[in-house]
């Protein structure tokens, strides 16, 4: 057994070596991407095609290409292929949009949980703050403060022009950060597990407030939520121009709704890029190092002069601010917000993405978000669809003689997200706590200095340590 396993792994290593040699990686990456694109383009309903397409991004990330080549292919995927394929099959655009929204949220939460090691179980509260900010100002709600929910006159004018959306992205960032600081100030002294429960409580408080602030004045319209919320104006000439270019490729006239989907996808992408840039750069500075130090050992960190509460507040505020921006975006993209979107389950969903991908790992968290969203939207919903087809058929499970017809209609896999999140959290904690793509520390010392070893003789070679670290992770 052992021998064959070794042979397989040797063969595998050889394969990887071949794939990464010379021009091979370029050919492989382009061929794989082209295959995925062609599959999705020709059969828009194929899950396999979608997975091939989505995983091509991972392949490009891992395979040995020039930095510029990776960047070029990434831009090609994000700005050309996804929009075209997405407009061709709007369901994929929805999936990709959700991936980008949750990737941005997960990257924000990752600052708090992954870098600073603070377990925040109420993260969507900050998302809610951003969403309700634009929902209240970007709708008719401020003219309806005296109205009983459900009795509003639909002809009420909007409070602000739609263009204010762009300003409110920044206001959302500010307000969410402020909320984060206000919550953090009293509670960040608490020990980790208490902090977790308190943030959970905060998340619930925000949700209950959203649910009940329809009285004494109707600020949130209660459980019914606020609708319609304005979207930012898109200039008509731009739409026409895009239509002229895209129509021949996607094969139909692109509606305004589809353009909006594209727009919000690109906006979420922009937020993600900002998050990555900020997080990546902070990570390699005094602030990021202080966060990691706090996560590793609070006592040692404070003894080295790291001000705990201030740095934790910074992490909290940074994480919250990105959620605030995404909230504004979310409210506009859906034109509707209600307290339901900001439940505890959503917070845990985002947490499970971070845990699945790898705490503190930027590529990991993005992959985590993608996997969870795909599982949610494609796999669970696909299963639901399949089951409902089975229910309508006359099929019978052999041996136990169970007719699918009799299967309870309550059994709808799409609704079993909690089980999905729960399993992810348990299994990852037990078997792979560092996540699918564990975070790596940056190499800073010049490699050339590495050939000189310690003057100690009890020292093993650094490379073997690196291997150990890899195996341990």
């Amino acid at each position: 057994m052992g021998g064959s396993r070794e042979r397989i792994s040797a063969w595998f290593a050889q394969g990887i070596g071949w794939a990464n040699r010379g021009w091979h990686p370029y050919a492989i990456a382009i061929a794989y991407l082209a295959l995925g694109t062609a599959m999705v383009y020709t059969s828009p309903r194929s899950l396999v095609g979608f997975l091939v397409f989505a995983s091509s991004a991972l392949l490009i990330y891992y395979i040995r290409l020039d930095k510029s080549a990776k960047l070029g292919l990434g831009i090609l995927i994000a700005l050309v292929l996804v929009p075209i394929l997405g407009v061709r099959n709007i369901f994929y655009l929805e999936t990709i949009f959700q991936i980008s929204v949750f990737a941005a949220l997960a990257l924000g939460l990752n600052i708090v949980v992954g870098f600073a090691g603070l377990l925040d179980l109420g993260y969507v509260a900050f998302y809610a703050v951003g969403a309700y900010l634009w929902a209240i100002f970007g709708s008719q709600q401020l003219y309806l403060l005296e109205a009983i929910p459900g009795t509003a006159n639909p002809d009420t004018p909007f409070f602000l022009p739609a263009g204010a959306f762009y300003l409110f992205i920044f206001l959302g960032v500010g307000l969410a950060a402020l909320t984060g600081i206000l919550l953090g100030l009293p509670v960040l002294r608490l020990r980790g597990d208490y902090l977790a429960i308190v943030t959970l409580g905060f998340g619930e408080v925000i949700r209950v407030l959203a649910n009940n602030l329809d009285k004494p004045i109707n600020l949130t319209n209660g459980p019914q939520g606020i609708s319609p919320i304005q979207r930012p104006p898109l200039p008509q000439p731009l739409l026409d121009g895009l239509n002229a270019v895209l129509k021949p490729v996607v094969g139909h006239n692109i509606s305004q709704g589809e353009f909006y989907n594209l727009f919000f996808y690109l906006a979420a992408l922009a937020v993600i890029l900002v998050v990555i840039l900020v997080v990546h750069r902070l990570d390699d500075s005094n602030i990021g190092r202080a966060w990691t130090a706090i996560r590793e050992d609070e006592t040692a960190a404070i003894a080295m002069g790291v001000p705990l509460v201030r740095m934790k507040l910074a992490a909290f505020a940074a994480g919250a601010s990105f959620a605030g921006a995404m909230g504004v975006l979310f409210a506009a993209s859906r034109t509707f917000v209600s307290p339901e979107s900001f439940s505890f389950m959503q917070s845990i969903g985002v947490l499970s993405m971070v845990i699945l991908g790898g705490l503190g790992s930027i590529p990991g968290v993005i992959v985590g978000a993608a996997v969870v969203v795909i599982l949610n939207l494609q796999v669970l919903q696909g299963l639901s669809l399949y089951l409902s087809e089975l229910r309508q058929s006359d099929a019978v499970i052999p041996i136990i003689n169970f007719a699918w017809k009799n299967l309870s209609t309550q059994l709808d896999p799409a609704k079993y997200q909690r089980m999905l999140f729960g399993l992810i959290l348990i299994l990852m904690m037990i078997y792979r706590p560092a996540g699918l793509i564990p975070a790596e520390r940056r190499k800073r010392e010049l490699r050339s200095e590495n050939n000189v070893n310690l003057d100690d003789d009890n020292q093993a070679s650094p490379s073997s340590h690196a291997e150990e670290a890899h195996n341990a992770g």
Partner: protein, 391 residues
């Protein structure tokens, strides 16, 4: 028989009973005085006007007339919280770990108990059952709930917590959150597959819905009625029994001594020949069984359950445990009673006192407010740590 009832036994039974009386009386009196004072201060305000319009009596009279019922309801729910809080506090005392899935252990107890009663009803055992046999069936349901919840608690500990016992503190907590979510959907899945629905309602049987009238005091033309539902009596009685029993187990038996020593120092306890893993399993069993019983009692009191029924009672019971001093059994009792009372007061009077601006819905987040305040100003709780204090 004489040797069983030695002085220590009697002391360990009487002491918690005395504490219960003191806690209930003290928190009841303090809150009543506060609310009456508040009502007095609000006389002549808009809230007063609204109350006169709606109820035909001024706000003070309204408060006073309703007070006895509020107190009884508060005590009842307080005992339910206390019983759940015991599970959190036991596990925290021994492992310094928040068993986030305890709320689902509670829900499992509720479901098993309710399903057992539904089965009995469909078998025709409940309709027309005498009061005595109804009580016996309830006890059976509670026992079944305890067994199921206790077993699941042990299983969860062995599969999802034990492998992580030496990991950093947040790792088992995240796993516990995962278990909590997993169990919610597992209950839902099993219920959906077997019964086709996941909202269950406890059958009506026996005389649980009847009300005892304890007293009726005439006051300014109306009567202050003091009555209590039979099921509330059961809830209170069963909870007291569990509290006293657990207190006895932990403080007066050899097993309790083993639990306390593991809570103090696992390594030393293990050197003294105590099987630490067994004691930890046992802690989960006891905590889980108490949670399961609380689940059946909760279903009896509030009749309708669903797979997510554990979330709020769980959070509130955890708050109760922290409020009283987590790791401390007496603290869980005190915290549960105080929180139950506060919540019932808020639920009953908030709406009236704020002229409808803030409804009873806010009572659900009251617990979080209290939790935050306690953790900031007195993290060791009202009574401080006792069982699980570590150097």
């Amino acid at each position: 028989m004489r040797r069983v009832f030695n002085s220590q036994t009697i002391r360990e039974i009487l002491r918690p009973l005395g504490q219960i009386v003191v806690f209930v009386t003290a928190s009841g009196v303090v809150l009543s005085l506060l609310i009456l004072l508040l009502a007095l201060l609000l006389r002549g305000s808009a809230a007063d006007q609204a109350t006169i319009e709606r109820n035909g009596m001024d706000i003070f009279t309204y408060t006073l007339v309703n007070l006895p019922q509020v107190l009884i309801d508060g005590v009842t729910i307080g005992f339910v919280y206390a019983a759940i809080a015991l599970g959190y506090t036991m596990v925290y005392g021994v492992l310094e770990f928040i068993n986030f899935a305890h709320s689902e252990i509670f829900a499992i107890g509720a479901f098993v108990g309710v399903e057992a009663l539904i089965f009995l009803e469909s078998a025709g055992m409940l309709s027309g059952a005498s009061n005595l046999s109804a009580y016996l069936w309830l006890i059976l349901a509670i026992l079944l709930g305890m067994i199921a919840a206790g077993s699941v608690a042990i299983l969860v500990e062995m599969s999802a917590y034990r492998p992580l016992r030496h990991a950093p503190r947040l790792v088992p907590l995240i796993s516990a959150i995962g278990v909590s979510f997993f169990l919610q959907d597992a209950i839902r899945l099993i219920e959906s597959l077997t019964t086709g629905q996941f909202h269950r309602i406890i059958p009506t049987f026996g005389n649980f819905d009847e009300r005892f009238s304890l007293a009726s005091i005439p006051y300014l033309g109306t009567n202050i009625n003091l009555d209590i539902q039979v099921k509330s009596v059961w809830v209170i009685f069963a909870a007291i029994l569990m509290l006293v029993g657990l207190n006895y187990l932990v403080n007066a038996t050899k097993l309790g001594k083993a639990i306390r020593s593991v809570a103090q120092d696992q390594a030393t306890a293990s050197l003294m020949g105590i099987n630490v893993n067994r004691i930890i399993s046992l802690t989960f069993l006891i905590g889980g069984a108490l949670g399961g019983a609380a689940g059946v009692l909760y279903a009896l009191k509030f009749t309708r359950i669903d797979p997510f029924v554990g979330f709020f009672p769980g959070i509130k019971a955890f708050t109760a445990a922290v409020l009283g001093g987590i790791g401390n059994i007496t603290g869980a009792l005190l915290g549960g009673i105080v929180l139950g009372m506060l919540e019932t007061f808020a639920g009953s009077y908030l709406n009236v006192f704020t002229v409808g601006a803030f409804g009873a819905e806010y009572k659900d987040i009251l617990a979080f407010g209290i939790l935050i305040l306690v953790l900031i100003f007195r993290p060791s709780g009202l009574l401080g740590e006792q069982v699980g204090q570590k150097a």
